[in-house]
Assembly symmetry: C2
Homo-oligomer: 363 residues x 2
């Protein structure tokens, strides 16, 4: 994703009207928590006291119409930019493009980002979310698979509740990558009068059969892990091995051969141990995949991965019967930014959406 | 793979000199078994009494030089064409191009195919192979991970032993797909005077870091399955769930979005059960992936998958220090047939090999 940040920043500066001067001081941001007293899912399920972690950058104007929403990706949270403390090792994931004087200029815009439902990183103490790992007040035990199945539209509706509470009357833009791109399209289809612009990055408005299959391939090793126990593993051993196996597939889908060639190539993990000679010896790429997977095991909840994948599988743009109907609901301008090396949200997905819009006589 | 058979057949007819008349009678073939008394691996390990299942089609000429070898793919065996009995439901996997009067014309050529080492389909009664599921005479127990790690060159050397025993003095061609393509290149590099032509299909001469990573992603869910038990699961529950999860990734890599769109699209597996409403309801593509995986669970040995993946990870063409050196050993003519929709052996792998050969002043 880092490789397209440069192009993205340049595109956004002119398209969103950002400033060209770059800030010097480190941006500090505070994590806040909001509780939505009663939330209704598209499915009809309802939930009391839904907690949402969120961050804001910049200042909302009096009209409440200078806001930009950055919905979360599959594996990120509300921490899009800045640091909680000046001593933090790294800033938020889109710090390069969100901040004072940056492409998404927080001197001009009020930027909002949330942790939303069933955020993966439940073990990250800065993440506040309600999901399958949350204790169900009715039983005193974590929901597990009894948590309502949610759709992308539910993510949008929950962020709408947060924006309402913050006094936001109108969105200048919604800018989101990957699973965030589903939300940009859904915002424009569900709330056509509320959103002026959408910037779907690594985008698709909804899944096709192939993507449903790949998401099932992520779910499979978790479901296959005996420690998963139908989702009721909380308090005991977690399905860490299954989660790690799933994340190895996702790791490769986010890279391309050239990236692996530059970083690992054919190098063994340990020059003294030939992978051809032993089952214990491995390659640098295998070590990198393992290290990345273990990082995710330490932060992620396996059930939340299942829920997020299910959300992408089942969501249909605007709740419409066809992609054509869903896209026809959109009135916002769109800047669609695919990456030809993305092996999950392949460019054909957004190219198809753009072709349909053009056939509908829309830009 | 079926989609490129037509183009392949046309190319082969003119390139290998096959006849243009098509046979009418069903081709019957017999499975035979050969035992190699002592086999030495590249690693230095040796094994007594290595059993190899094989099939031959057509007749070897007096000079012993009209032979074509079809090395096995990752998941197939020696059954490339014909039927064992006229009542068999389906013929061998390349029956469309191997047979009397077909592209690989068994009226003219003596075609040989083997099950080779650690064949995946150990539970298929017609497959004869020596691998991790074989009982080690020294211990009376299956080898498991104590079976020697093998390389593609070992597969070539074992097929060479079979060809020697059959009286083959020279190969007109080696035609192999996927893991078989590794073997076509290796034949030409290891036995440059023995092979006139190679036809690598879905080809690569060896793995790069990216492919090593994807093969590790196949291995991961098997290694994560508690039933795997370090490879010593024989006689008890097998790591079926891990094997199924691995095969779901492989299933998608062998297809492309358009194929899934045509066969499954967004259809639920059961029209009465909405996947958005329940964890028990799923899509047609998920059902297809499951059905394919369960078929493989019934036939395959999980350890053999680990060994086959390891072989592709560790093999270096011609045992050379670089791909350039390995390719420089080749004197055979090559007809290289990539598929742009293959998501494991991507076309860039063979394009790179062809570029290197051209830079070396070879066709």
């Amino acid at each position: 994703m880092r490789r397209i940040l440069g192009a993205l920043a340049l595109g956004l500066v002119s398209w969103l009207g950002g400033a060209h001067a770059w800030a010097q001081e480190p941006l500090l941001v505070e994590k806040r928590t909001m509780t939505i007293p009663r939330f209704s899912f598209v499915s009809g399920a309802t939930l009391a006291d839904v907690k949402v972690g969120y961050e804001t950058f910049g200042t909302l104007n009096a009209a409440g119409d200078n806001a930009i929403l950055v919905p979360r990706t599959f594996s990120t949270d509300s921490h899009v930019a800045g640091r909680y403390k000046a001593s933090d090792a790294a800033p938020g994931y889109w710090d390069a493009i969100v901040g004072p004087g940056k492409a998404i200029d927080t001197n001009r815009f009020f930027v909002v980002a949330t942790d939303n439902l069933a955020n993966l990183a439940t073990k990250n103490p800065t993440v506040v979310t309600t999901g399958p790992a949350t204790v169900d007040p009715a039983t005193g035990k974590p929901y597990g698979l009894r948590f309502p199945i949610y759709q992308v539209r539910d993510m949008v509706n929950l962020d709408k509740a947060v924006l309402d509470a913050l006094g936001v009357k109108h969105l200048h833009a919604v800018v989101g990558a990957s699973m965030g791109s589903f939300q940009t399209f859904e915002w424009a289809a569900s709330y056509p009068d509320f959103v002026d612009r959408i910037v779907p990055v690594l985008p698709t408005p909804q899944a096709d059969g192939f993507l449903i299959g790949w998401l099932a391939a992520w779910q499979a090793p978790i479901l296959a892990d005996l420690a998963w126990k139908g989702g009721d593993y909380y308090g005991g051993p977690e399905p860490a091995a299954g989660l790690a196996a799933a994340m190895k597939v996702a790791y490769l889908q986010q890279r391309w051969a050239g990236a692996v060639e530059r970083t690992a190539g054919l190098k063994p993990a340990d020059p003294a141990k030939d992978p051809a000679a032993s089952w214990d010896a491995r390659y640098a790429i295998e070590q990198a995949m393992d290290a990345d997977a273990q990082l995710r095991v330490r932060l992620f909840d396996a059930n939340a991965i299942l829920y997020g994948a299910k959300a992408m599988q089942i969501s249909r743009l605007g709740g419409a019967a066809s992609l054509e109907e869903g896209l026809a609901k959109i009135r916002a301008k769109a800047l669609v930014i695919p990456a030809k090396t993305d092996m999950l949200l392949w460019p054909y997905l957004s190219q198809r959406a753009v072709s349909i819009r053009r056939a509908q006589g829309r830009e």
